[in-house]
């Protein structure tokens, strides 16, 4: 890029890129805040971070752009997704406001804060900029390395200590010491007999011959679904499919088709219309 030209405005290509990707970044950020499910928020945030990586590259921060993709979208967002999978079983966000009017006040103060920040930037009269052509002359990575290992070397070493502390801290926080011995299968079965609750193995899910998926509760003799047949995790997530009504509907359709095939007169008005069509 010509340094003379770069002093007042960027290239048209970069402007186009900024306006298109900037819109994507803002939409992604808004979706992060307003999506109901934590997984969707995480994916939108990952999109925003990738867009920011492109902006870093456009601003001449080649090293940071790659690090952003590797560390943020690669490591941190995947860590978020892991925790969402661990914790998110009952991740429904409560809509009840603990403090009355808090949401509205938060929106208003957020708006005010945004106006304040943007007006502050608008007040600063910046018409020309230096550009990184000179600083990046020997390569961006070399430039950053020469600064990190001379001027910022102490902060860099402290960072190492911080990372080790964080790793140890995470292990301490999530590690659970087992205070009592795990019960064996024999003890568990004896416990069940003593309680007299449910002795045989749990019934299998699925309605045989029509469905056999694990999320479909098996039907009891009277046609009601039995919750006992579905795995506990699915029960907690509320992901049980109830097909007891479906089976009756299928049966009804089957009977109607048989009647049409045999050209019998059906009793209902809808059935008679169908049989006329079939006779044509």
């Amino acid at each position: 890029m010509n340094t003379q030209l770069a002093a007042y405005s960027t290239s048209t290509g970069e402007a186009v890129q900024f306006w298109i990707l900037g819109t994507v970044a803002v939409i992604g950020a808004l979706c992060t805040v307003f999506m109901k499910k934590a997984v969707h928020s995480a994916l939108c945030l990952a999109g925003t971070m990738i867009v920011l990586a492109v902006f870093y590259l456009a601003n001449g921060a080649y090293f940071l752009g790659i690090v952003q993709i590797v560390v943020y979208t690669g490591a941190i967002m995947m860590l978020f997704l892991f925790v969402v999978m661990l914790v998110g079983v009952t991740a429904a966000d409560s809509l009840k406001e603990t403090i009355e009017g808090q949401r509205r006040l938060a929106l208003v103060s957020g708006l005010g804060f945004g106006i304040l920040l943007i007006a502050g930037i608008g007040n600063a009269s910046v018409t020309e900029f230096t550009g990184l052509a000179q600083a990046n002359a020997n390569g961006n990575v070399e430039g950053i390395a020469s600064l990190i290992f001379t001027k910022y070397v102490f902060a860099f070493e402290i960072t190492g200590a911080l990372l080790i502390t964080a790793a140890v801290g995470a292990m301490v926080l999530t590690h659970r010491e087992r205070t009592e011995r795990a019960r064996t299968q024999r003890e568990l079965s004896e416990q069940r007999v003593r309680d007299g609750k449910y002795l045989p193995p749990l019934p299998a899910p699925g309605v045989y011959a029509r469905h056999n998926a694990v999320d479909i509760a098996g039907l009891l003799p009277d046609g009601t679904p039995s919750e006992l047949t579905v795995s506990k995790t699915l029960r907690e997530r509320g992901q049980i499919r109830d097909v007891s009504m479906e089976a009756l509907g299928d049966l009804k359709a089957l009977e109607q088709r048989a009647e049409e095939r045999l050209e019998r007169k059906a009793v209902g008005p809808a059935g008679s219309g169908r049989s006329e069509e079939a006779s044509k």
């Binding site: 900037g22 970044a25 992060t32 601003n59 925790v83």
Partner: protein, 99 residues
Amino acid sequence: MNPVNYLYLAALLFTIGATGVLIRRNAIVVFMCVELMLNACNLAFVAFSRLHGNLDGQIIAFFTMVVAAAEVVVGLAIIVSLFRSRHSASVDDASLMKL
């Protein structure tokens, strides 16, 4: 286009993140909004680095990233252990020091 527009974008993203922290109840989403704010600051640092023509801004952004990584590890560990003791990731439920 003047690179100051990157600063406007950073301010906008920071505001959205801050509003999200205030609005949302789910601890994980609140944490994601904090990450969004950190990223907005990084964008501002990188843009300033270009405006001033030296690499110090990029180095600060790099350190921010490292600290954010450490923060995410510890924060998510806290959320997981909170969820284990309370069976909920809502920030409202963590209002007591003890169970």
